[in-house]
Symmetry: C2
């Protein structure tokens, strides 16, 4: 029997996955969380598939040392390239960020025209596209990689002329294609939601994959009977493989609250 | 006696340093070059000083296996944080990208008002600023980090409205401060030269650090008597610690020619 009070393990290539932790804390306030951000090797999006599988395996092994009860991949790149391999190799329940986003989009769309945005690697992996087509081949998919969104968010330009122009440049083709649902396929993107909504208009539903991921975690834990039984507020601990420039202020932007209990993930254990 | 026909070793955190190789090939066409791009851990700019020193030491040791006759750090972040340590630890001549850029700027400025642009880490390291002040305390320095330039260049948006707006947003304060010299303190930036020149006007001299670095390499080799004696065209070999998404097309943009002889740098040797 698994101990229900064990923590949930979450990993990401860097700090962006803290948007998922933010949603987990909101939806599952009593759970303990151990977060691993592989800040020494961030971003994964410009690495090879082989490297991403290797890094993701190391991250999983690292989290297992904390006796986590399930593992959440709060990283689109890992979810695209490494999730199947991890599920095949490890016994513990593992959730990626793609399936929950796709599920929500399929529930929400009326006209069966769905847009997907993400980094180059996420879009080119076809992970979202394949999942959607397998579920419903009649869906029309409009995918677009938006490599400038992450640096714009990290620069803090969440609104203003340049941001609108960049959003328009990337998203007008999707708007013109009359999508009614848009999957934000990158953990950074929720911070751009208001600006994206301004361009796309109220007729387009925005799917926040971090939020959908947290909902799926709750559903899985309820189903497996592994939800925490304590009634007190859970604790979150953050392990980073490097403590980079401005990591605290950047992390807190994603987390939406103070980031205390930050530790170093020993590099020898991550390779 | 050192064998003059040994190759020049060059390393960078990724592919951006190929702009320096491009200049080396132009200025020193007969030299053999071994380039190491640490594409598995790129970028260094968002890592800690400790990580950057460790990575740079590993890269140096890797290049030494090729019996290189000198080592060039075509990486502003490594040059800012690791150059002194490397020079202290290793016997071989080692050149960074900062001193040559500063030297050129000091020769060119008339009104003693110099601008410096680079990534967050390069600017915050004060490496350029300190070098200039030490050489001439009467210089007025205007430094600005431009974190959106690299992704804009990698997206291929070398001109157009968004690019002009971003350049204007970053550089108008420097233009208003009446600088007459601007150091492009990042290996990617030379590709934005025409767009930057459009905004800054012909009165501002742009210092291309990759080019100045290549000139310094030539001067050093002449002084030490280690320039290659062959009269035939040199060969360049490229070692990458990961072969990422679109690496060939991205690399060739920086290199300005076809990138053949690309090999894997064994990860076990880089850690």
């Amino acid at each position: 029997m698994i101990d229900n009070n064990r923590p949930i393990g979450v990993f990401d290539s860097g700090l962006g996955g803290l948007t998922a932790v933010r949603q987990l804390i909101k939806i599952l306030p009593n759970e303990d969380i151990v977060y691993l951000g592989d800040t020494a090797r961030v971003p994964y999006g410009n690495k090879s598939k082989k490297a991403i599988i290797k890094f993701s395996t190391q991250n999983t092994l690292y989290l297992l040392k904390f006796k986590v009860k399930l593992i959440v991949l709060a990283c689109n790149t890992s979810s695209s390239f490494a999730l199947n391999r991890l599920k095949y190799n490890f016994k513990i329940p593992i959730l990626g960020v793609i399936t929950p986003g796709v599920k929500a989009a399929l529930e929400v769309t009326r006209n069966k025209r769905i847009g997907i945005i993400g980094t180059n690697v996420t879009i080119d992996s076809n992970a979202y596209q394949n999942k959607i087509i397998n579920a419903d081949p009649s869906i029309k998919i409009f995918a677009k990689s938006c490599p400038l969104f992450v640096p714009i968010i990290e620069e803090g330009w969440l609104s203003g002329k340049i941001t609108s122009s960049v959003i328009r440049k990337y998203l007008m083709p999707l708007k013109n294609a009359k999508i009614d649902t848009l999957i934000l396929g990158c953990t950074h993107y929720p911070l751009l939601k208001p600006a994206i909504r301004n361009i796309m208009g109220p007729g387009v539903k925005l799917i926040d994959s971090a939020k959908e991921l947290a909902i799926s975690v709750k559903q899985l834990m309820d189903k497996e009977g592994i939800a925490c039984k304590r009634k007190t507020k859970g604790k979150a601990r953050f392990y980073l493989s490097d403590k980079p420039y401005r990591f605290k202020s950047t992390g807190e932007k994603f987390l939406g609250q103070e980031m205390s209990h930050v530790f170093s993930a020993k590099e020898s254990e991550l390779g």
